[in-house]
């Protein structure tokens, strides 16, 4: 008994000690008055150079575009790895009955609503808070809710794989197109447009559209594959 207590006490002390250390370190930092070395410069530069009203989008897609590309790749790698681990989608569980009337009707109502909200958030990512990742998750929810209501009719994995692959390639192709126009990789193209209108900030809305479609397709495929993997292993 005492040794079991000790075994749990050790990690608890470690976590508590780590928290205390972190609290002491953080207490010395200027909360609420950050140095803003790069942040200030970006705020001054973004409207003129990138043309996006949402500075966070300007940072995500323009100043740190390759971070976003890496993020897309990480999600892609996770989906690939999960697909590798879970194996091919098994046969439909025979007799998986559709859910009750309320869930089915609700899913039918929710699907177009979620689709519209997701696309809105994606397309307005450079004007209001939001963007490709957030909207993509909502799109994935739009496609997964009907699967929960009727497990016998999941979306086709081939189509999802095509959307995923082509959207990701579109992101990189937009970046490579900048090379063709004698800029650096992932430089924003197509002019700034008028600040605050839907068609502005050059290629940024297009990039976010690619991101949104890719994330939506990826998460849908991942979630559906997880629900299908339940049961015996198809070794």
């Amino acid at each position: 008994m005492p040794t079991a207590r000790l075994a749990t006490l050790g990690p608890l002390l470690f976590a508590a000690g780590f928290a205390f250390l972190l609290a002491v370190l953080v207490a010395g930092l200027p909360f609420g008055a950050p140095p803003m070395t790069v942040g200030q410069a970006i705020q001054g530069d973004a409207a003129g150079t990138v043309g996006a009203a949402n500075f966070v989008t300007a940072v995500v897609l323009a100043y740190r575009g390759i971070d976003t590309l890496g993020e897309l790749s990480i999600l892609f790698a996770a989906a690939m790895a999960a697909g590798l681990v879970l194996g091919r989608p098994g046969e439909r569980r025979a007799g998986a009955a559709p859910a009750g009337f309320i869930l089915r009707a609700g899913a039918d109502l929710l699907f177009p609503l979620l689709l519209v909200v997701g696309l809105y958030i994606i397309l307005h990512g450079h004007l209001t808070p939001g963007g490709g990742f957030q909207g993509g998750v909502i799109l994935a929810a739009a496609f997964v809710v009907p699967v929960l209501a009727d497990p016998g009719r999941p979306p086709e994995h081939r189509r999802l794989a095509w959307v995923e692959g082509l959207a990701g390639a579109a992101f990189i192709a937009t970046g490579l197109a900048a090379l063709a126009w004698d800029h650096e990789f992932l430089a924003p193209l197509l002019g700034r447009g008028t600040l605050g209108s839907l068609v502005s900030a050059g290629t940024l809305p297009l990039l976010y559209l690619a991101v949104g479609l890719k994330v939506g397709a990826e998460l849908t495929g991942l979630l559906v594959r997880m629900t299908e993997a339940d049961g015996e292993a198809p070794r």
Binding site: A15, G39, A78, V85, M226
Partner: protein, 155 residues
């Protein structure tokens, strides 16, 4: 008011991080480990976002209004990336958990570790590690059950 806000925010972030890390090292059940990871990542992301906070500043979006001071947009972009990375890793962890449940019949980490070690030894053709000497004297208790019983979970 400022001090209270500061204290609450930082306690929240560091508290989440500590709870998550504590759960990560302590939890025996696979799913709790994934949950603890999610909590810890939330705490770390909160800590990162707080580095951009400014008192009496607005969101970094141009709305045509007067140029009020804005919070730092860079940490928000960083956290966007970090959250998505966390989601990917958690999804993969759950996929592995599904497969582990199917392969070993249990989600108890200690059992899984023992069976994994036994499998590695078995694949290499080794006898499992253990003392080859008989204990001296009488055994007061019956020998412990081997951990590698298939399809059985310990209470």
């Amino acid at each position: 008011m400022n001090d209270a806000t500061t204290l609450t925010l930082y306690l929240g972030a560091i508290g989440l991080l500590a709870i998550g890390i504590g759960g990560l090292v302590l939890a025996r059940h696979l799913f709790r480990v994934v949950m603890a990871l999610a909590i810890a990542e939330a705490g770390a992301n909160l800590l990162l976002v707080l580095t951009g906070f400014r008192w009496d500043a607005v969101a970094p979006i141009l709305t045509g209004a007067d140029r009020a001071p804005m919070v730092d947009p860079v940490p928000q972009a960083l956290v966007l990336t970090a959250i998505v990375i966390g989601v990917g890793v958690q999804a993969l962890a759950l996929a592995l958990a599904i497969r582990l449940r199917q392969a070993y019949g249990t989600l108890d980490l200690r059992l899984i570790r023992a069976r994994m070690a036994a499998e590695i030894d078995g694949a290499a053709g080794l006898a499992p590690a253990g003392s080859r000497d008989r204990p001296a004297g009488e055994r007061p208790l019956p020998p412990p059950q081997p951990a590698a019983l298939p399809g059985e979970t310990r209470p």
